[in-house]
Amino acid sequence: MHSFGYRANAVLTFAVTILAVICTIASISDNFNSASPTAEVQVSNINWFQKQPNGDDVVGLTLNISADLQSLFTWNTKQVFVFLAAEYETQQNSLNQVSLWDGIIPAKEHAKFVIQTTNKYHFTDQGSNLRGKEFNLTLHWHVMPKTGKMSADKIVMTGYRLPDRYR
């Protein structure tokens, strides 16, 4: 009845249950954090703008990104993944999202930043629709918890426009 096996089993089951409950509570506690991040992005230069041999437009830009994402961090946050995407419509596509830059923020101390960067990934269209195209820049973030539910949100910035000619 009270063999070693039984006791070991009971202790283990209890320990795992408690661990699961604590993890769940940690994940739920994230809901009480109300985040108010801010971001601002400027396109400081269009470095090049061409049509690739396969017919797709491709753009190289320089971006000034400043953001304050400190309020996203809670005690259950492992990291925040942040990326900037160009979003626009074309005749063929009702939505195009092209990630231009991304970064991993490991801690709250690094969550307020100002950087100047060229696009890390090619700004490539599906086709040749980018001349004179108006687009939005959206800063997305993805909060990865130490355990539990992941969450994501974004800030949309409007009013960007590509030049009318290749250069």
Binding site: Q79, F83, N96, S99, Y121, H142
Partner: protein
């Protein structure tokens, strides 16, 4: 007397009712595990509701051995989603992040490009020959939750089949031969 005969003796010496009870208990454990997994499949709408991360390509977000909970709903796939996808020639599903989305106006077909957070380039080298985009049918699910370390057991078992057989054997014996 050899080990085999001893084992047979101990099985014969068990009264038949005890043996049946044990068999039913064993069956109950297996069936309830199966039921839980199937229910999860229905609730999440994904054919594999739980996956174990097998590579370090999403470090430091997801490490090897972490478990992801997947969900598959009607929401369209968008940039930033972490999706689990299978490409035709590969058996093992890959967990990576969507970095490009192009959604057709007329048909609603979504072309998706993925990349691992920790990889230098996008996933086109992993796709089938000449495949440029993933479509909805390649995608098994979208990661919504995360439990660290829990998947290490399965990685150990899969990479060392010997441990697996020893473990299954011992568990089976314990369940059949313990009287309570």
């Amino acid at each position: 007397m050899g080990l085999f005969e001893e084992t047979m003796e101990s099985i014969k010496s068990l009264p038949i009712r005890d043996f049946l009870t044990q068999a039913i208990n064993f069956g109950m454990i297996v069936v309830s595990a199966l039921m839980i997994y199937r229910s999860l499949m229905i609730i999440t709408g994904s054919e594999s509701p739980v996956v174990v991360v097998l590579s370090g390509s999403m470090e430091p977000g997801f490490a090897r051995g972490d478990i992801l909970l997947l969900h598959m709903n009607k929401d369209r796939i968008r940039a930033g989603d972490i999706v689990v996808f299978k490409v035709n020639r590969r058996e093992i599903p890959i967990v990576h992040r969507v970095i490009q989305v192009h959604e057709r106006r007329d048909t609603g077909v979504v072309d998706v490009l993925t990349k691992g957070d920790n990889n230098p380039g996008d996933d086109r080298p992993f796709y089938a020959h000449r495949q440029l985009w993933l479509q909805q049918n390649h995608i098994v699910g979208r990661a919504v939750g995360f439990v660290p370390y829990l998947g290490w057991a399965t990685i150990l078992l899969n990479e060392n089949p010997v441990i697996k057989y020893i473990l299954i054997g011992t568990l089976g014996c314990v369940i059949i031969f313990t009287k309570d």
